[in-house]
């Protein structure tokens, strides 16, 4: 009997968007390939053509309700780059505050609701219980803290962004309304509380992570280039230049946001609606690059806030720099979260934040411009071409998940190979494979805004028939036996 077959996991769960994974086994029953694919497509890049630039930032955020703020900010930056607008320092600070709120909203969601259950429960736990709602039932105080931390950032988005999901205050020229002093005071009180909670979350995350580290490091460590924004060697989200380090940690390329599209190229594969982005000068596949929390730690030497900087040093000491292991993303994400809470508080402590000079007049022009920010999942770039009457002629977006797409697939293959030998599948494969995908926190909504979405994991035989992985209670729930 030939052992050549395919394994499918569909839908992949506890990630944002619909996904699917297929693992192909060769005739010896070992992993020959693994694919993570997006099965949804929406068409933003085309249907927004002709839209007036003033409407664009607010509408384009609908690409993703989870990282909408990052999209709005990349969008206004792209438009301002075309118009040649210099925003005020007050507006820049308020935008950075919004971006910190974005990081906190996303990372607290990912940590508590998506990945924590993997660390919290044993691998033997019934999968129907392996989720945050179960943790909330068992330990209501953890749920309370998760919600309080998230509420801080949601409140920030509501007060400064004027809407909690799909903010509207960031417009070309600055921020639509100044922050009021009583708003700053009340947000500052919440920021103090959030900073206490984030320390506890960090301790909890680190403890659970260290307990599982021996197991985690087997989950793939495909070595690639890493890319992130940087400013004076420190992690930066809103400004700065883009820096790339090679797998050995040497800086190989540095460029400004304006030149982004000259350095990054996209390619498509026939099996997924999500495109792949890579570094043009290094060519495919050498130019495969990762972005996101680990990349931010790998590219930069410093963090601008105290506790996060201390944790960054410890991270580098423990795991090296660059750190390659996939599941370190979960650890690095907590350092981001810590930094975002500290930085938000720092910004709110600044009395100048309530200055009323938040907006300058813009002069619409035709042209091409790029806006880059660090979104929760990594470097996000919007490029627009605007016509002389202020309409969108075309756009090109490079989304973090497109950049990470190649690494996700390659790590998936390594991770699956750990669990499958000569046609024998060890229990726990499926959640392990999903943990790799989950570590990247892929945003399929973003990666597939071009046309639709769905991310799925399959095990198939050489004839393409679905097979079941025997011997595992949880896995048998979703896999069908094939040859």
């Amino acid at each position: 009997m030939s052992l050549k077959r395919e394994i499918t996991i569909s839908p992949t769960t506890r990630i944002e968007g619909h996904g699917k994974v297929t693992i192909t086994l060769n005739e010896g029953g070992n992993v020959s390939d693994a694919y993570f694919y997006a099965t949804e497509i929406r068409g933003f890049d085309y249907f927004l053509r002709g839209m007036d630039a003033e409407r664009l930032p607010f509408i384009i955020s609908r690409i993703c309700g989870v990282c909408s703020t990052a999209h709005v900010l990349a969008s206004v930056k792209a438009i301002e780059s075309i118009y040649g607008t210099e925003i005020t320092e007050t507006a820049r600070k308020l935008r950075e505050l919004l971006l910190m709120a974005q990081i906190i909203t996303n990372h607290s969601l990912v940590f508590f609701f998506l990945t924590l259950p993997d660390f919290w429960f044993s691998t033997e736990e019934n999968p129907s219980k392996r989720n945050m709602f179960q943790i909330m039932r068992e330990k209501p105080e953890v749920g309370k803290k998760a919600v309080t931390l998230r509420s801080f950032s949601v409140h920030l988005l509501g007060v400064v962004g004027k809407r909690e999901v799909h903010i509207l205050s960031a417009i070309p020229g600055g921020i639509i309304n100044p922050l009021k002093e009583h708003e700053r005071q009340s947000l500052l009180v919440q920021a103090q509380e959030a900073n206490e909670i984030v320390k506890e979350a960090f301790t909890l995350g680190k403890e659970l992570f260290e307990r599982n580290w021996g197991d985690f490091k087997k989950a793939g460590d495909y070595k690639t280039h890493y890319m992130a924004l940087t400013k004076d060697d420190a992690v930066e989200f809103y400004d700065g230049k883009i820096s790339v380090v090679n797998p050995e940690g040497q800086t190989v390329s540095e460029f400004s946001a304006d030149d982004y599209m000259e350095h990054v190229e996209e390619k498509t594969y026939e099996w997924t609606y999500a495109k792949f982005a890579y570094l043009k000068e290094l060519e495919w596949p050498n130019g495969i690059v990762q972005v996101g929390s680990t990349a931010r730690m790998n590219v930069n030497k410093k963090m601008t806030t105290g506790l996060a900087y201390k944790e960054l040093n410890e991270f580098k000491r423990k795991f090296g720099s660059p750190a390659h292991t996939t599941l370190l993303l979960d650890y690095a994400r907590l350092i981001d979260l810590l930094h975002a809470c500290e930085r938000a508080k720092e910004l709110l402590e600044d009395e100048n934040l309530t200055r009323t000079d938040t907006r300058v007049k813009v002069t619409p022009k035709a042209g091409t411009g790029v806006g880059v920010v660090e979104a929760p999942r990594g470097t996000l770039a919007h490029e627009y071409v605007l016509t002389s009457d202020g309409r969108l002629e075309s756009m090109k977006l490079i989304i973090p998940t497109q950049l990470n797409n190649a690494a996700i697939n390659l790590n998936l293959k390594d991770g699956a190979a750990e669990f499958i030998h000569k046609g024998k599948v060890k229990p726990g494969l499926l959640n392990r494979v999903e943990m790799i995908v989950r570590a990247y926190d892929p945003c399929i909504k973003c990666a597939t805004r071009q046309v639709n979405e769905d991310l799925t994991v399959e095990v198939r035989n050489s004839k393409g028939e679905l097979i079941r992985i025997p011997g595992s209670r949880l896995e048998s729930q979703w896999l069908e036996m094939g040859s």
Binding site: I41, G50, R62, V147, H166, I176
Partner: protein, 287 residues
């Protein structure tokens, strides 16, 4: 109450909004809801039988259609959450391009059978299944979601919001004498005066209330994300004429000129253009 949370083609903003409810979320989770299915949060791969299904997103693929039919068959009450589920939403803008053009332009190499077939366009879920409650919005505000769900749990009819956003806006409607319309970046908005009276194309007068008018209150325009109010629900073809009348009356600009200016921008009506597709069995179900 056993609850499932289902995401179809969408941006996930509506479920994010539900999660933004803070203490009210903790309350509903500990008191009322037993969430048993949600691919975003729970490792269960099969759709179970539930009392209440909360569905975000619209129908763009054959898989979406298959899933919504299965969810409907296994749910006692089905709530369409957000404008994509109720009206088709932003993704409906893609309906203006044929799918063939879209795929040829973007994915010329894709000929794979592994990916789900796309439908000819984006549909609201009511085109395929019966919907018990519609909560339009992009996304609906957390309090609106929680209030509606709480009412459903206690078996009471949810409080409806049938009028327009202007009723929730603090701005004063004062007929003006303007010579043209303005883009939102062209001038700073006055804090007290109606946005339309200042020449901005604010859609509050034809958009369902229930959001608390955060956009016009902030000096921005209403984008119409809650869709039409009761009075315009079944009259989508009248909406354009209605807006022209309101704009003209509040700005003092002739209807002909307003029409000409609005006509130049096809994106003004993005959430309304396709709402004629949505089927509302009864306006009483729209929250």
């Amino acid at each position: 109450m056993r609850v499932s949370i289902v995401s179809l083609t969408c941006c996930a903003g509506c479920v994010s909004s539900f999660l933004n409810a803070g203490d009210a979320l903790l309350d509903i989770l500990s008191e009322d809801f037993d969430i048993v299915y949600s691919p975003t949060f729970i490792d269960l791969k099969e759709v179970p039988e539930v009392d209440l299904a909360i569905v975000e997103g619209g129908i763009r693929t054959e898989e979406d259609e298959k899933l919504i039919k299965e969810v409907r068959a296994k749910s006692r009450i089905l709530v369409a959450l957000g404008i994509c589920a109720t009206h088709g939403g932003i993704t409906s803008l893609g309906n203006v391009l044929s799918l063939k053009t879209l795929l040829e332009k973007e994915y010329s190499q894709i000929a794979s059978t592994k990916l789900p077939e796309l439908k000819d366009m984006m549909y609201p879920i009511s085109n395929f299944v019966d919907v018990d409650y519609y909560i339009p919005g992009c996304p609906p505000m957390p309090f609106l979601i929680i209030h509606t769900l709480k009412s459903i749990v206690s078996g009471k009819p949810p409080i409806r919001h049938h009028s327009v956003v202007c009723t929730e806006c603090h701005r004063k409607i004062v007929p003006a004498k303007l010579d043209r319309l303005y883009g939102i970046y062209e001038k700073e908005a006055d804090h007290e005066l109606c946005m339309v009276s200042q020449g901005f194309v604010c859609l509050g007068s034809m958009t369902r209330e229930g959001c608390g008018a955060p956009c016009p209150r902030a000096g921005f325009i209403c984008f119409g994300c809650r869709g039409p109010p009761d009075s315009l629900l079944y009259r989508s073809r009248d909406m354009y004429a209605f807006l022209v009348k309101v704009m003209s009356a509040r700005t003092g600009i002739s209807e002909g000129t307003v029409k000409e200016e609005l006509y130049r921008n096809p994106f003004i009506f993005h959430t309304f253009v396709f709402s004629k597709l949505a089927r509302f069995q009864a306006r009483e179900r729209v929250i």
